[in-house]
Amino acid sequence: MAMVHENRRGISRRELLKRGTIGAALIISGRAVISPRDAWGLETTALKPETTATLIVLARDIYPHDQLADRFYAIAVKGQDAKAAEDPAHRTLIEDGIADLDRRAGSGGYRGLGWEDDRVAILRDIETTPFFQAVRGDLVVSLYNQKEIWPIFGYEGESYSKGGYIDRGFNDIQWL
């Protein structure tokens, strides 16, 4: 799977309608999942692009943070495609797991369910499955270990190069 890249050319509204939208903001084009609104695209190699698009929605449903853009979730699930490319068993696990979600969701598929609560209700039924565990277990690292999101959560990361916090507020609490 290629890195998430900026989709500088953008896509016309007509093109977008022709290809059909997925979820609220993601569209599929060839082997890529594209977010026209935020101008990024994610190419897939082993997994179907529709599967990857659903994985992105699933990732947000598992760890919903409204302040995080979709691209962080897209980056977080990239590893699933890479692993699927190396390991056919993993590919089957993910494809079958997503197909199962779609089946449980009914005619519109998992991404077609508009309310998070409805999607989460399905996830509660499958949370002990190897599929869900594989996705969640990877995601808890691949999402929260992205240095770009740390400032959004107020985490300052590495501090040695700045001389620690001895002169930068290790004891600056005022409200007690």
């Binding site: 943070h65 990361g157 040695y160 004891n171």
Partner: protein, 523 residues
């Protein structure tokens, strides 16, 4: 200058492991003019190369060899191949440890006498007392530069401590301060003072926290009597027909096997690898493993009754700024059975960075209950519970019946189930910790389950009688005179205190004993 020793030199003391026990013992023996070879499974990573990043550091330092788990503990479900969060590198887990350095209490050497028989617990008194250890505790505290001893000032309190202390005051706790920490509050022993960087668990990049990596080991090497051989993973201890150990077989970086001869072998590989090595060294003379006539090798695995409490406040705390664990309440460490359990526990400040908080706050947790807690990360405060757990014979490190490591040796399986006393203690501590934070305005608080074990104890325990344990009061195995255990696996019981200070203390004392026996020609 480090002294290289020949593989066939059978006059050396071989120490397996370079952490709190092995690193200290190696230096102590070298200082007495005894030739020592320390075999360390991991590589040598100097403190400048430590990484202020939780997962990267974990990949750099953690012991990640294949292990399995069993039993009722939640670690078995959440981290089935990671029973322990310990280190594979020169310096061992003293690179990762938090620095809390507390002496055992007098009664904690006499559990069976003090608590009486407890159903399901394999309690035993230590064959030594606090009085036996006091002079050695004093030496260890001086060596490690423990704050609030030897006239060393305490560390300043960080934000996490200030919240903790305010709550402690509200609850009426009397003994709350920034603790006895083997972290320099000012320059000492050629090492600088703490810069409040956080990342104590990732290895101190300033060298302000005591670790054998940059204290005991270079001091020992400077004598010309100590060689540390990194990337040397011991797979077997050899013995002769008389039943004395003669050397050890180890694998180098390329997996090539070598045998290092020895006059004495001291095992200090932490409470999972040490019993595993004894069990894997079985022979026709010792079919159940070395030093295992009691059948207690690998049994009575203890890991302290732990858990954490995190709480979210309206305003920022920034708990990750500054020393990770400089804050303690000792009021609950007493033995007071009216609380519904025997033994006691310490409450100690603790913080995790965002990546580890996600992994450990509620392992397996997901959905908005979990993520709304994470959204409040900067407003979180945290504490760790560390209490005495009950030794139980079925909690054990065993050899896996099928799975082998890269050298063809059976891997360890670590099985643990809480004793009812452990559960009662943890619930009490959760309740007190949550009450503490609520007293200073917490909006939500979280009783967080135990992490993979950092305090691994008891699997080669010390006993008066050879039938009750593996080693005598010197850490010398009951069965083999020139085979010693020099790590936390000798603990008869765990106490409520973080174990490193006691491991170092026992190593200093053991060095005196070994030197005396060598001089007398008895081993």
């Amino acid at each position: 200058m480090a002294a290289p020793y020949d593989l066939n030199d059978d006059s050396v003391v071989v120490i397996i492991g370079s952490g709190a026990g092995g690193g200290t013992l190696g230096n102590e023996l070298a200082q007495k003019g005894i030739d020592v070879v320390v075999l360390e499974a991991g590589s040598r990573i100097e403190y400048e190369d430590f990484i202020n990043d939780e997962w990267e550091s974990f990949a750099q330092l953690a012991w990640l060899d294949h292990r399995t788990t069993g039993g009722g503990w939640r670690v078995h479900k959440d981290f089935p191949n990671l029973p322990a969060w310990i280190v594979k590198a020169v310096g061992g887990t003293t690179t990762h440890w938090a620095g809390a350095s507390l002496r055992f209490q007098e009664h904690e050497f006499k559990d069976l006498t003090t608590y009486g028989k407890i159903e399901g617990a394999n309690l035993l008194d230590w064959p030594i007392t606090l009085a036996d250890l006091e002079p050695y505790y004093a030496k260890a505290e001086d060596k490690m530069g423990v704050t609030r001893t030897n006239g060393i000032e305490g560390l300043p309190g960080n934000n996490n401590f200030k919240v903790f202390k305010a709550g402690a005051d509200k609850l009426g706790y009397k003994e709350c301060n920034t603790g006895r920490m083997a972290i320099n509050s000012a320059e000492r022993d050629g090492r600088m003072g703490c810069q409040q960087t956080g990342f104590c668990f990732q290895g101190c990049k300033w060298g302000a926290k005591w670790s054998t990596l940059y204290t005991e080991i270079p001091k020992g090497e400077a004598t010309g009597r100590l060689e540390v051989r990194p990337n040397s993973h011991v797979v077997k201890i050899e013995h002769d027909k008389a039943g004395k150990v003669t050397g050890v077989v180890y694998a180098d970086t390329d997996g090539k096997l070598h045998e290092q001869k020895a006059r004495i072998v001291c095992v200090a590989g932490n409470s999972i690898e040490s019993p595993r090595l004894l069990l894997n060294s079985h022979s026709s003379m010792f079919p159940d493993g070395l030093a295992n006539s009691s059948g207690q090798v690998g049994k009575n695995y203890m890991r302290h009754t732990t858990g954490s409490v995190y709480a979210v406040f309206e305003k920022p705390v920034h708990m990750y700024r500054g020393t990770t664990m400089a804050g303690i309440i000792r009021d609950e460490a007493i033995h007071d059975p009216s609380r519904g359990f025997v033994g006691g526990y310490e409450l100690e400040t603790l913080s995790l960075g965002l990546p580890f908080m996600a992994a450990f706050l509620d392992p397996g947790g997901w959905g908005r209950s979990f993520t709304s807690a994470m959204d409040n990360y900067p407003n979180m405060a945290g504490m760790w519970i560390v209490g005495e757990d009950m030794p139980q014979e079925q909690n054990a490190v065993k050899l896996h019946p099928e799975l082998k490591d890269q050298y063809g040796m059976p891997i360890p399986d670590v099985s643990f189930t809480d004793h009812p006393n452990d559960i009662a203690m943890r619930n009490h501590a959760y309740q007190r910790g949550q009450a503490l934070y609520e007293a200073v305005g917490a909006i939500r608080s979280f009783p967080t389950p135990p992490y993979p074990s950092t305090h691994n104890l008891g699997t080669n325990r010390m006993s008066e009688k050879a039938s009750d344990g593996v080693v005598n009061k010197w850490g010398q195995t009951h069965d083999i005179r020139n085979l010693f255990i020099s790590d936390g696996s000798q603990f008869t019981t765990g106490g409520a205190e973080n174990p490193t200070l006691t491991i170092v203390t026992l190593a200093i004392r053991q060095a005196d004993h070994i030197a005396g026996e060598m001089a007398a020609g008895t081993i």
